[in-house]
Amino acid sequence: MRSVMSGNDMARVMRRIAHEVIEKNRGVENLIVVGIRTRGGPLADRLAALLAEIEGVEVPMGIIDIGMYRDDIDTRPRIELGPTELPEDVDGATIVLVDDVLYTGRTIRAALDALADLGRAAVVQLAVVVDRGHRELPIRADFVGKNLPTSSREHVTVRVAEIDGEDGVWIDSPDEQGSDE
């Protein structure tokens, strides 16, 4: 496994994304930061905290589980569902979706469907730590921590301290020794 982002790199990237979110939205008014379970959850927490720190106002956050919205339930092992928790009213809000890796776009597609069932946001934007390419759907991120050209045979791992005990991004090639993919 090759390291492509350290914990410090990730912290810098999250802070830059926070500034970009503020710039694009001219502040944080009406903003809700929503993490996509699992690793998007703590990342959304951090982004909301950074936005609050920079702007000096609370930024509401939520988390959504896309387990009921996946289109690949026949081909992937089942994962236990997790809670979806959003602030009371998302109608008319600007939602910044947060996830660790943007790859095929299917997770984001599912997240957009899940969001649509929970209210009518005015705008939905997407922030990811890593965009590794290989999109299968017409989806793009508004805020990208790092563009990471990969082969589809490679495996990208984002670790977040709250879940994995450390921060960082690694890339795993099937040709390399010690690969577990």
Partner: protein, 305 residues
Amino acid sequence: MKNLLSMEGASRPALESLLNDADEFYEVMHRPIPKVPALRGKTVATMFFEPSTRTKLSFERAARALSADILSFSPGTSSLKKGESLKDTVLTVKAMGAELMVVRHTSTGAPWRVAEWTGLPVVNGGDGAHQHPTQALLDSLTLRQHFGSLDGLRIAIVGDIKHSRVARSDVWAFATLGAEVTLVAPPTLLPPDLSTWPVQTSTSLDEVLDSFDAIYLLRVQAERGGASVFPSVAEYRERFGMTEARFDRLKPDTIVLHPGPMIRGIEIDAGPADDPRCKVLEQVTNGVAVRMAVLFQLLGGTRDE
């Protein structure tokens, strides 16, 4: 999990996983639009060879809330009347595209046979006086919502244990989830051999009334011979009914459950039945949530065993 046939032998992690998913589906049911696309394009067959209204409605509500399609079978209108065998009937419905079958039948073991014949995932919707696993799941969910956990809970199951598939499923689910179960019934309404059941027994409701966190009242099953051991319903009510007087003697935080349909004036009086501590309607709502979890787990995801 390939099938859901019995609560006997079900593992604690498997039960907890279903209850955890059911919590999320409970949230879905309380949304303005209570529907998710989880099983879009899947077809669920509800094969009820024994008359049923609520369980069948509940499964069909659950399937629709998951965006599945439904093939709905009722014995009254079917070719069973023309002599078609159970096997031919279920194979016919499979050939129409059913991908999962919910089976209710008066004969013990029928859902197991259907699983063998069809190779499809099968949910036991109640077989004879044997098992009714989704009832046990919805009862467990109701208890877990109220108390946070079943660990250490003291639960009484009262009434016609002998003819009750609900009791046969509940005792295993409750015990597996950590509760202490006591069966309260006259000896004539207890099964002949209880040595393998994880339960204690009592023959007098009045003697043990104030020692439980939850009292589960069973229905008097006239159709399975349950009424015959009592000379009258009045005597049943006298000894095992949740009368106003008994309800007043319960610990203040004890809740009352009933699988429905509730027969007021026999198993339960009107006052207790309408009290907020009687959780019958919560049980019904939870029934849809746990059935969504069961259908989702059996039809969603590659088989993990």
